[in-house]
Subunit: 432 residues, 2 copies
Amino acid sequence: MNDTHNPALRSWVESANDASSDFPIQNLPFGVFSNGGERRCGVAIGDRIVDVSAVADSFTGGAADIARACSAPVLNSVMAESNANLSEFRAQLSSLLSSDSASRTALEKALVPMADATLHLPADVGDYTDFYASIYHATNVGKLFRPDNPLLPNYKHVPIGYHGRASSLIPTGAEIARPSGQTHPSEKDPPKFGPSAGLDYEAEVGFFVGTPNRLGTAIPIDEAANHIFGFCLVNDWSARDIQSWEYQPLGPFLAKNFATTVSPWVVTREAIEPFRVPAFFRPADDPKPLPYLSSEEDEKAGGLDLTIEVFIRTSIMREGGLRPTRISVASFSDMYWTTAQMLAHHASGGCNLRTGDLLASGTVSGPEEGMQGCLLEITRRGANPLQLSSGEERKFLHDGDEIILRGYFERDGCARIGMGECSGRVVAHYSS
Amino acid sequence: MNDTHNPALRSWVESANDASSDFPIQNLPFGVFSNGGERRCGVAIGDRIVDVSAVADSFTGGAADIARACSAPVLNSVMAESNANLSEFRAQLSSLLSSDSASRTALEKALVPMADATLHLPADVGDYTDFYASIYHATNVGKLFRPDNPLLPNYKHVPIGYHGRASSLIPTGAEIARPSGQTHPSEKDPPKFGPSAGLDYEAEVGFFVGTPNRLGTAIPIDEAANHIFGFCLVNDWSARDIQSWEYQPLGPFLAKNFATTVSPWVVTREAIEPFRVPAFFRPADDPKPLPYLSSEEDEKAGGLDLTIEVFIRTSIMREGGLRPTRISVASFSDMYWTTAQMLAHHASGGCNLRTGDLLASGTVSGPEEGMQGCLLEITRRGANPLQLSSGEERKFLHDGDEIILRGYFERDGCARIGMGECSGRVVAHYSS
């Protein structure tokens, strides 16, 4: 059996061997695509998609079950498969796609050019939950909303999260209609209703639940990582002016539920294994996480060496053929809480997580300038506008602005694997 | 065509003519049941369930489409039907069940005794949203959590709501396992993890979305009532000690997501028409709702003459054969926001509501003692324990306590129609 992570592995799909490809043979992320016909599940390799169910007879044993499950229009059935089967599938697909494969002819017929395909939401998401796991983001935002009290007393004890809206999860590339809502810009005047003047993005990492838990049953922290099927990027579009007026006492509601963009490729739990790093290093005077959030293994390897980049492309850049401006670069290893801690916390009171449920990390921000994952932080709520390479400036997003998130796992001695793009463009209204 | 609301109408199903029945011929609520076989949709009449799809050929036109859709294991397809078809179905079923019906023999074969049936969740709920629409509840709770600042400045402008958890919606009768969670009972000590010592219920009214709206499209306040398929009861079980520690800044999360009980019978939009009353009377110094929340029709008839009762049955009552103690009685007409306002607000930023989505009102509390819809309010967070008829007292719920919600629409000149029971019993752990 191949070591599917071996950086020396190459594929007969030549584009996968390009060092700049997000999808080398070491990655093999799952997604949902269509090209004229029905939606079905595929795996990305270079600039191609393997139409897996079309070559299901190339797989054996548990891997063949997964290949057949790829005929579905969402990944939920694949996500529900055992980790043993998923591992077997990965090993067989890696072998089928590797340079020395004898099955090239069979598989070549099932390759779809990604450029010809439409990419869809990866899963039927029963519930979507959003966390707040970056202490830098929480502190920066807290300073703006509560200058006297930026980081609340619970932050270092509780992985703060809240339920988001599943119905308005949309795939990468879908337009974002600027929401209208109630705001209260001046204490002197009554509240008003109209288009948000504080539209923002939030760069986040999402993770899908694979193995579910029953209602009333917690997931121990040591098992939590094995309940995660894989990872994606999430843009949690936010209307800051609506948010600041509505959020007390029950949290954000209409400020967030008008659209949340999800990237199409789900990078699997196994693919990211080589990029595990220690969890956030807690200073000595920070509280130690309670036992249900604490394990030696998670402390040692619960972090991820994952870089998140945010780009903006304004209408002027698009029309002028200018490259998008990179706004920020942050590392997911700077998150205060690990994905295992978020998941274990979520289930700790008995809440049942279903296969296909999406959890997101909250905005990924780092400790320094240039590492902040939303405009609210970057511009200090508009006080310090962001200067763009086009000569424009931004307090918040304008109609026509496109936000592009990119993510990649990188580490010495490993093949770099990417997450693809999570993009969306703001429009005044949906066109149709 | 019959006037389906006519209080003089009687059914050949004798139990439906009993004045104490929740399900007279004027009600005809939809639900999902099974009796040994597959789940399917039915309509309650007296102490019987009409197995509608079994007699689909008794219906004609659009009503027959609905009768056939009742073969599904959830009501979503029925809920997606046009109001015209639903109205036609109601009229035909009323006629088939009325004393002078010629179709008694055909329908009798399709009657299932409710006592022999298992009742299930009525719908596949994509998203569950919980509001906070009782100003009395908001003020009472605000006093406990924020004595200086009980009613926040946004309350009279914004129908405050938040996203709840869809996965842990459970049917009436299902046990409630006491959740564990993180609490911080004393400022002097560090937070701890363990079973909640502040388990509470919240008596709420739920309403299901029938006609959906597209992402990016608001629902005008004048059309909002027509997007509601029907009404049920909801018990939003809450762990107050977990809630007070976790809820800032993003709202309740684990304090609420361990279980939410939904009553089985959905009383339709049309059935409740005779019980429409004026919306909450806003004192002159209260702000007028913004135009997107304001309509003459809603002001005139957006309230509902719906009474909610809460009963408790402790283990001692159960073992001693004592009747449950009634804890509170409240009127839904005391809610500050109407169901149309909640729905219009929800969609006002473009959030798409899907058929089968469940919205709940938040705790229904009235202005006086005896009208508070949760123990937090009744006992002032445990400071004034509730005295029960059994001689026991309660600050919060004990294991073995059963909470039973009942609701009924009542008005002079109308047949009283009920919502059935919404019940659940607290246990330390799920048994299986």
